[in-house]
Symmetry: none
Subunit: 209 residues, 4 copies
DNA sequence: TATGAATGAGCATTCATTCAT
DNA sequence: GATGAATGAATGCTCATTCAT
């Protein structure tokens, strides 16, 4: 172990960049196809088609490769969220909520990887900040969506509500790709139900009486 | 690796049972006190005060020990849930929801262990069934609580709703003990907010018009 | 690296002792026959006819093997010195000095090993104490020899004189087995000359005038 | 490994000489500041501010760099000795002996580096010749000092005596900077005592009777 | 039945050296 | 000539598992 969890340097020469990317991508691939337990520097180098020495030229240790992968995934997650926000326009709340959830769902499928990385080394201190980054990005998106619909939703603390929503959705999505998908519930039905959960949570209360 | 994930046998003789328990407890202890990375058969045997040979007399491999521990924890989780149900009586919905969430929260704190085991070897196929067992137990509790309050809640599919509720809660609790607890939200406030989420989700809709 | 430089434990079972000894002896052999650069845990285990795992069962790291070897050599050095003292009887100073030097010389030849170990890892902090132990043992022997010949030698500080003598001899012996043996000087002539050096150093001064 | 232990060539162009020197100096620096274990071609090149490729342009392998450094140090040692001889003039024997020892001592302190190099790779065959060179230089100096004082010293074989003297001194100096400096003896006292050793060794014998 | 000595595949990491640019 | 990306053999060490006693 080493104490440095950052990549030694993000190289600038073309060939070096290719190697760097190949290593991170190989890490992704191994994690995706062979599971967290199979992630070893030797395997990564092998899959990357690169010598073990090259791997250590760019990364001071195994953890730093995982961290680099996590950063890459956080990056693309953010891009996806921006795209989602851009298209969500001024649609009605229920529609947009469904869109968001479907979006998160799609992202999840696409980013199981990130979750695996994040969990793969939960003892690794710097991984925590990546988990925070993911949560923050999602929460930020929800906050902005709600802000655009001031009239349609009840008065509430945007920070709190967005936190609860994001993690309620995450919890349900996680249940599914953790293999907990139940026989009585299709993926689409589940999404409809989560929409109901969220919409009921934020919609304006009926006038008392 | 071995292909068998079950304990070789749950022994019946008194001394053998003691040994078996000591091993599982040692596994729990190491996991709790030294972290998932420290869990090794040699360490478990050492902490259990048992020779490595004895460990392998009762368990065919490392994974089976973790599985046995998971089973033990699932068992006590179920007991805790039963207790919760017994005391929840006929309280008003909001009160009981809060109770349930606090209960789940307490259990989580108490059962971090189970979560750690469950995650510790997510590649281990048989661990999935334990995760299912946990989810099922929780869902069952929620279903029974809702059933007792037919009048206070809207018409709905108990299976679906209990699924969504359990995982919405789980997602939020997970966020907290994953270190995502945000500055703007105390644990108690979060619980209040989850109560709101659930209550709004299940409460009878106001008459249209 | 590990921080522990001691053998994990000196075993008591017969088979275990045999393994322990085989490892230390293999270390000696590699050091003697293949040089300090060839000393690796894998090579030691191989030469010992033992698996690498067994080596690490008894020694926490490479350095501790070298240290154990150093201790073994210090031990036999002490035994040799005791023997030398026992036979030196009440011989005349010059004779006994020659004997001592020949003794040290013989030991040196026999203990090149110890010197190699001691130097092999001079960065290893605990090795220093072994070097001290060697020097102390030799000095102690000289001190005792001088004490027995009070009348034949001048008045002097035994600590100081024994220190100077031991290292003067060591320096010359070292020169030889460091490959510095010169064409103009046979080993025997050198010994005679060192005898002269020491005898002249300690003999009673002629009465002034 | 390569079989060639000499520098590929000592370059003649100004810029090339600068590079060559930078590499040797960097080697010295690493050895001095970071210890023998830290000496690697990559580190040397880095400290020299030179690419690893350039290092291998001038030196066929790592050992040749150490050898070049050893040569440089032998060179300055010789210069120092010449200076010492020049100033020693016609002083009385005891005074000059003390001066010599102090001189050797100072040189040792200054040339720990050389000793470290010499020891750093004692398996390297060509390093032996550098050790010989050091010994020869010192012996030569002693021989010349004695020659100038023919009348004050006894009849003796200059080669033999100078050899014994040099290594007797070396042995004692080595003891000190090997960390064997004892509580009962200050550095100055030790030097006084070595002076006594040498003076008694070479002084004319009293007339028999 | 219990013990613990022994095994060895496997992992993270280093470093001397080469060679395309 | 200089650069530095790339190589890969080798090293220290861990840990699940077996088996003789």
């Amino acid at each position: 172990m080493n104490g440095e969890w950052k990549a030694r340097r993000k190289p600038t020469q073309a060939r070096a960049i290719a190697t760097w990317d190949a290593i991170v991508e190989a890490c992704a691939q191994v994690l995706r196809d062979e599971g967290a337990a199979a992630v070893s520097t030797n395997r990564i180098a092998e899959v990357a088609g690169v010598s073990i020495g090259s791997l250590y030229q760019y990364f001071p240790n195994k953890e730093s490769v995982l961290l680099a992968l996590a950063d890459r995934e956080v990056e693309t997650l953010r891009d996806n969220l921006e795209a989602l926000l851009r298209v969500s326009g001024d649609l009605h709340a229920e529609v947009v909520v469904e869109q968001v959830i479907r979006g998160m769902f799609a992202m999840r499928e696409q980013h199981v990887l990130l979750m695996r990385v994040a969990q793969a080394d939960r003892d690794l201190p710097d991984m925590a900040s990546r988990r925070v980054a993911v949560a923050e990005s999602l929460r930020d998106m929800v906050r902005r969506l709600l802000a655009r619909r001031k009239g349609q939703v009840r008065e509430m603390d945007a920070d709190v509500v967005s936190f609860v929503i994001v993690h309620a959705i995450q919890g349900n999505l996680q249940a599914i790709d953790g293999g907990l998908e139940p026989w009585f519930l299709s993926k689409d039905e589940l999404i409809d139900e989560i929409v109901a959960l969220v919409v009921r949570y934020v919609r304006a209360d009926p006038p008392a009486g």
